[in-house]
């Protein structure tokens, strides 16, 4: 890394305006930040530290926790369910991040660039809202409907459709890997609206003349998409990917409603596993250990994402 780049890191970016500094220091400003810090301390830091402390204890949720050292942490390494739950997190990331982001990008570009131009903004907005609908729908309600669709036997809507083509009924949520696949499909459906809405908002920033100029130069839709759309909405892609990855790691509601971790624990995810240990087995110490690992993973993922994004932004600025 050259010294020029290093000095570039510390220099203020040209587009960020200078905030005028008041003479006499910034001591008074800290006073205004105190309530925020107090809340942060009470709501986040103290419970976090307490949670970490509980990982070294055996506790049933009442009376005094019993200190047991590293026992909970040792148990994690040989606990198959724990490792299964994190493996399933990878599938959740595919269903909640990878697929929705890629498909969302294409859908947003099509709605904005093709549908919006041919049928007007209202049609585009209407379609955007329909994609966003599953995000608004409470998962408890959606779960009931999904249950009807994938019911085993001849009553299930999906099995009825299959029967029209002479295919046998299948126990979608009762077998592996179909239970996990159903959960993943549901999560794609739930998540898709979020990137579509964010990407479409980002596309408003694109100067239409850019597209027109590219079209005049003979660029086809895919070339315009990759050269213009992708580069302009890159910050939004980062935000969507980061927030969706965190959501995928923490996913709880859909698993609780649709599969309860079954069949035979095959759709277990860390948050649901921690919940089971906390509330049904009353192994609060072990539940806290799982939650702490999950927290560490989320923090690491967030730091990596933010660093990668900053690095790309720096390179872009340096390029400019």
């Amino acid at each position: 890394m050259s010294s020029a780049t290093r000095s570039g890191r510390t220099a203020l970016p040209p587009e960020e305006p200078l905030i005028p500094q008041r003479r006499g220091g910034t001591g008074a400003y800290w006073l205004y930040l105190l309530p925020g810090f107090a809340l942060l301390l009470i709501v986040v830091i103290v419970p976090l530290l307490w949670n970490v402390y509980l990982t070294f204890t055996k506790w049933k949720g009442v009376r005094t926790p019993e200190f047991i050292g590293l026992e909970n942490w040792q148990k994690l390494f040989t606990d198959e369910d724990f490792w299964t739950s994190f493996q399933n997190s990878v599938w959740m990331i595919i269903a909640m991040v990878v697929v929705p982001t890629i498909v969302g990008l294409i859908v947003a570009a099509l709605l904005f660039d093709v549908i919006g131009r041919k049928f007007g903004g209202k049609v585009g907005s209407f379609l955007r809202a329909t994609y966003y609908l599953p995000q608004i729908l409470p998962i408890a309600v959606a779960g009931i409907v999904i249950g009807w669709i994938v019911r085993p036997g001849k009553d299930g809507a999906l099995n009825q459709i299959l029967s029209w083509f002479g295919m046998p009924a299948y126990d979608w949520l009762g077998q592996m890997p179909s239970a996990l696949i159903v959960l993943m499909v549901v999560m794609v459906w739930v998540q898709l609206g979020y990137p579509v809405v964010v990407f479409m908002a980002a596309l408003q920033r694109v100067d239409p003349e850019l597209y027109e100029a590219a079209e005049l130069d003979g660029a086809n839709w895919f070339q315009r998409f990759s050269a213009i759309t992708m580069s302009i909405i890159r910050p939004e892609i980062f935000v969507v990917t980061l927030t969706c990855t965190i959501a995928a790691l923490k996913v709880f509601g859909p698993v609780y409603i649709i599969t309860r971790g079954g069949p035979a624990g095959s759709t277990l995810v860390p948050a649901f596993y921690a919940y089971q240990e906390f509330f049904t087995k009353r192994n609060v110490g072990y539940g806290a250990t799982i939650a702490t690992v999950l927290t560490i993973v989320v923090v690491i993922v967030s730091i990596v994402f933010i660093r990668v994004q900053n690095s790309i932004e720096r390179k872009e600025r340096a390029g400019l």
Partner: protein, 435 residues
Amino acid sequence: MARNTRRTKTLAALAALTATGLALAGCTPGGSDEGGDGQTLKLWHYESEDSAMGKAWTEAIKIFEEETGAKVEFEEKSFEQIQKTASQVLDTDAAPDLMEFNKGNATAGFLASTGLITDISDAVDEYGWADKLAPSLQTTAKYSDDGVMGGDAWYGIPNYGEFVGVYYNKDAFAAAGLEIPTSYDEFVDVLDAFVAKGITPLAEAGAEYPLGQLWYQLALMEGDRGFVDDYQLYKDPVDWQGPEITSATQTLKEYVDKGYIASDVSSIKAEDAGVSFINGTSPIFVSGSWWYGRFVNEATGFDWTMTAFPGADLSLGSSGNLWVVPENAANKELAYKFIDITMRPEIQAIIGNNGGLPVAADPADITDPKSSELIETFNGILDQDGLSFYPDWPAPGFYDVIVQELQGLITGSQDVETTDDNLGKAYDEGTADFR
């Protein structure tokens, strides 16, 4: 700026992750005996208004207020709500004076062992409640210091009982030319006969309790009271590769293989299984007396009956949920008076005439013939000391383990031996603290 926003988001994510821990950790002991005015009874229960117990207790509240002049401050709770959060609330001065709570080692026993609910033995002696309760009903009301049921101290009083038996669609039997079985061999013959006619005879649900209860009933067919005491009261270690458990798991697998149970029940919930009996799809349903009232109202398209599991000396079942008095209750004397009213014949009769199983009713007060039939079956089980509790009771969280392991068995993803091994491992781990 953007970076700060993301940092805040990360912190918010951390807050969300630790919220569960906070919910448990935030409550600290702070009980108080203050606030007892002797005029207000703070009461929590989770029975729906139109259930047998709900109706009985509404009447009991009315009588209590008339007779004592005190006011009942009733808060309707859900079963889940009390189950999951009661232990934290009971440790504070927000505890009620009287509360309905689930019976068993992992529930009422746990509260008893932590000192969160009151040893009410003196009140039991004073009011003479023990005389009204059969011995197997008393087991779930009395706990040891470690919270194991069947102990010496009274921690709760049940008003009603429950058991698991077999519901038969009599019309479907008649149509198939079959008789209601009276022995286990006849039961199996009936299952074979239905399968031969292309009918899957048993309504089942692998995602919830019915399958686990059938599994335990099959273990009880091979076991005796000694097995139940070992399994439920930890008298001796349970052999998870022994004849009772092996037979139960093997037989359950055969039920699936032979088509007695549909192969696709692993994701079915109890409600769906019950409905398949109500709508006549399945002619036989092995489940609890808690369905009885509903079947009276809804399974009206055909004639049906319920018996204890054929050929069984032991049946799943117990007292119903318990009235418990929190240690931090402000008005314990009022609580005892209320419990006493719920044991009166007129209140017990309301339970009995609405599809419930009263524990201290005068048989002459039960006017409904269908209810009489049910109570007669229950009393038959009580007379032979046949109540054997439920398979998930011995260890906290064992319910989920049973569901998951039996799902593994019936979907063919694991064999009988592995299933028993896994169950045994979870059982031993979960019961270690009580031994």
